[in-house]
Amino acid sequence: MKFTELKVGQKILFSGIIYTARDQAHKRLVEAIKKGKKLPIDLKGAIIYYCAPTKTPKGKIISTSTALSADGKQIRTIGSCGPTTSSRMDKFSLDLLKAGVKAMIGKGRRSEQIRKAIKKYKAVYFLTYAGCGALLSKYVKKMELIAYQDLGQEAIYKLEVKDFPLIVGIDAKGRSIYDKKRWTAF
């Protein structure tokens, strides 16, 4: 699936790899980029999900959203994992887009600067079901800690997702789902 061909408002089911990162992880990534340090993830082509999941409940056997552990038992892969408010990441997203991030997943509006940057760098901004962390956990097959462990749930995790529901919020042409007169009023 080519993200650049997606149209604003379109709903897709995505399968592949996404990385969680929110406020503090963004701050650190941008600081690292500015200092020319090595980054914990390759941002080129990366999909960033604004999310800090709840802790993964242990010892429960659930029908879906699980993986088989080594001994063949079903284990839960992640806790509740919905999107957080994207606009708080606006001040960092330009640097990440410059570094090659191809998609962001969150909820709510983006700044005009970021909308233009999405167009310039041919990226895409997705929305996913806000406040539906329990439901979204069902589409996560694997979760792996990648960096910034000291941030707790705000650390960067690599998620392998299957059929994760996404709605195109801003497409590669810079068209925004919120781009209506009523939104520009405030």
Partner: protein, 288 residues
């Protein structure tokens, strides 16, 4: 004096924090289903259906309804004839920590607000009111910050008219727009002082949320209550005409309900506070 032990309080707060985070309030769930039935916008209907599914999964699989398990707020109504054996506040905080750990809920409390260091489960924000009687009422409200960030307070002049107050409340919802997980429940506090109006706005979210039929029987209830119900009804209708809709993508469901609490105020002013809740309005209460 009726004794209540700190251990008992800890146990109850622990249970309430899990209950609040995993089981959506009945009134809110009912209104979401009603909204789903009445919604015509296709995308709004799809999102409402996801929200309803989410609540069912959370309950069944003992998962948090939302990964933002909030800054835990605890409302205490302490009967003046209750004697707490032990430390009330630390009993509550201990209960929060226990419950959040047991329920695998997110530790979102930042101990030092400026350095942003030290992530923890508690302390909760605790509101204690002394009331008559020998009961102890505990309510846990995990308040997500996507919506808490949209709170507004305005100190009006005493000569303000209702229309101006209404505009302020509606503008607050408008400025939250799509960002704070609509459909919202709107809590409004009118009167008191600046801090007290903010407290009332938050407390209004604890009240059962209902749709007020326009034909409230004004003789069945006291006059001031009638006025407030009428105002709630007007606001409810106007907010739902904003067409923000679920996730801010349009639709007739922008607000599930609105609760207003009032308190006497000073002759020189009128504080009005608005506290918005996302669609996952979570509270759990127990009376000891």
């Amino acid at each position: 004096m009726r004794p209540v032990s700190a251990e008992k309080i800890t146990k109850v707060v622990s249970d309430l924090s899990i209950q609040a985070n995993q089981i959506l309030r009945k009134d809110v769930f009912f209104l979401l289903k009603k909204a789903y039935q009445e919604e015509k916008n296709k995308r709004a209907k799809d999102i409402l259906s996801a929200i309803i599914k989410n609540a069912l999964i959370a309950k069944k699989e003992k998962l948090a309804i939302c990964q933002d398990t909030g800054l835990p707020c605890v409302f205490v109504e302490l009967g003046q004839d209750v004697k707490v054996i032990g430390d009330l506040k630390s009993a509550i905080n201990k209960g929060i920590e226990l419950g959040y750990k047991k329920g695998a809920l997110r530790n979102s409390v930042i101990k030092d607000p400026l350095s942003r260091k030290k992530i923890d489960y508690q302390p909760a924000v605790i509101h204690i009111e002394i009331v008559k009687g020998d009961k102890l009422k505990l309510t846990v409200l995990p308040k997500g910050f996507g919506c808490e960030n949209k709170t507004q307070l305005k100190m009006f002049n005493p000569t303000v008219n209702w229309q101006e107050i209404k505009n302020f409340i509606i503008d607050t919802v408008k400025s939250a727009g799509p960002d704070a997980c609509p459909p919202y429940v709107v809590g409004v506090g009118i009167g008191g002082t600046a801090d007290y109006a903010c407290f009332l706005a938050k407390k209004a979210l604890l009240k059962t949320v209902v749709h007020y039929p326009s034909s409230v029987n004004r003789y069945a209830i006291r006059n001031t209550q009638y006025t407030i119900k009428k105002l709630e009804d007007e606001l409810f209708k106007e907010i739902n005409r904003l067409n923000i809709g679920p996730m801010g993508l349009g639709g007739k469901t922008t607000c599930l309900g609105i609760n207003i609490l009032t308190y006497p105020t000073h002759m020189a002013g009128l504080p009005v506070a608005v506290n918005i809740s996302c669609h996952a309005l979570r509270t759990a209460t127990k009376i000891l």
